[in-house]
Amino acid sequence: MSGHSNWPEWIYVGVVIALMVWVGAEAWEAERLVEHVPEGAEIIKVTGQQWFWTFEHEDGTKEIGELHVEKGKAYKFEIHSKDVNHSFNIHDYVILMDAIPGRVNTVWFAPTDVGEHDIQCREYCGLIHYNMRGTLYVEEPSS
């Protein structure tokens, strides 16, 4: 070799490894918290099919393309698909979970503010994938 010492490279590699360990540890901790579903979360069954979303609340009411929830409550989505893969996405709440035929995936959230948010499909599912959209309405608690 050219005879120069290699210590700058070792220090650099050490710094990179330390950064990666830090990123990994932070991500691990955050994901662990995010995945912890609160007790008593209300279940909403989400069904994806070409090219719309259907929601079924615990009391049996069904909605198509729209989802009404109440502020301050925790909800757990049980997501599945009737035909091809979709991905259920409420971007404002960083909710993303694939809807896959033959499987039920879960994800939860607890809306904090009243408002309207977009629901969309984020996995390619064919012709009208671009318009497989819906709206989430977060409302004041009824009681």
């Binding site: 490279e9 650099y12 990179v16 990994g24 996405n89 969309q120 390619y124």
Partner: protein, 508 residues
Amino acid sequence: MVLELQKPRPIWQIMFSTHHTDVGLLYLISSLGFLFLGGALALAIRAELFLPGAQIIGDAMTFNRIFTVHGTTLIFLFIIPFASSVGNYFVPIMVRYKDMAYPKLNAIAFWMIPPAGALIWLGFADFTWYATPPYSIISAPGPAADMWIFGLKILGISSVLGAINFIVTILKCKHPDMSIGQVPLLAWSFLSSSLIILVAIPTFAAALLMLLTDRLGVSGFFNPAMGGDPIAYAHLFWFTFHPEVYVLVIPAIGMMYEIIPRFSRKPIYSFNSGIFAFVLLSIVGFSSWAHHMYATGMSFTEKTVFMVGTLAAVPASAMHVFNFIATMWNSRIKFSTPMMWAVGGIALFFSAGAGGVANAAMPLDFSTHDTYWVVGHFHLFVMGTIAFGSIAFLYYMFPYVTGRMYNETMGKIHFVMSFIGTVLVFFTQHVLGLYGMPRRIFDYPPIPEWIAMNQIASVGAMIIGVSMAIFLANMIYSSGKGQLANTEDPFGVGGKYYYPFEAKNPSH
């Protein structure tokens, strides 16, 4: 040796030749042809997304077909064949052998590409380059989908044959006086990427066959209606195609290893760390495939394993960047066109890697996955790193292939425009992804931020398009009428041009 255009030969002598530089030339011309075809599709996509509503592409189906063929073309018909071209020209020379180990196999591997390309282009499938079931089984229209499957099958065989040839040439045909540690880093990059191909490709080859029989209805591997599981396909696909990312990027890094020291007029900072990083990357590249699948409902443990596997690949990539910077440090750099492209490529490689770390971190991935962030991220690799490295090397090998010099000013304009364009398109797409725009959509709602960022990206794409037209003109004009190159030292960096240049007619 090459000098094709100075000593014209009938075209069939090149087409039916098995000489490594002739096969290299065939690879080169066909890969550049597909670069422009695939690039034209990219411009169509960007024009369509300039505003919400249908613009120039009438319907969603056509749009879906266009981005599918765009991706398939540029990955399989530009990047890989371009690397094969460079390997064909220089690997035998670098290991001091007269040709590739198996010249006929080499020609066969090339001649599989045109029929595969024809299948992909004539079919024009719509199920994305990922061909995900069950969409690809129950919903994607035939015969386009079937033609795509056969096209990819043929390209897989071609890659495996090419990989075998490179491995045997480097390990078995290198000059007996040469130890493996003396093989130049460019040849090392082909050794590493070829080994990855041999391990990775068979998995996808199997998945393709299963996909085909599923489409025919005789099996149900990935079809839930017949008891199959689409996630199994995702694992098989990404087990091949995450390592495939390294297959694409490693030769481009190897090309930069050739260029950076030459124009820095200094030996590479650490040859051994280059080799070490290539080998390390080829191994840890296999530990990260399911980071593409966090949102498929993987358990916390699975996600953690694949996050660690992904982050483990970062130090190896970072070592290359360090090696390049340390080589350029305190050196007398000559910023000729190839050097500009290589340095730009390193900068974008670093940016792409940094974005990749964000994707790998589990909670952040749910924000970026399947949005334009991911589109921006991997394009910084395939365009910013791999295409930049490849174009750098194309300028670098231009005097070697043609015996003439390209126009330096046009080359620099090409670089400056492409660099600005790449930053405008793909950095903006990262931000667009954070605003939530999904990938692969033909139309989008008129959200002001989405419109603004799509317009910036589309303008950037048009700048790249213009620069590529300049590039094409430069290549065509200069290969016929450019100044004769000083074959000893075409770039005026002092010292001898690396490659032996004596004219030697193909002997097969």
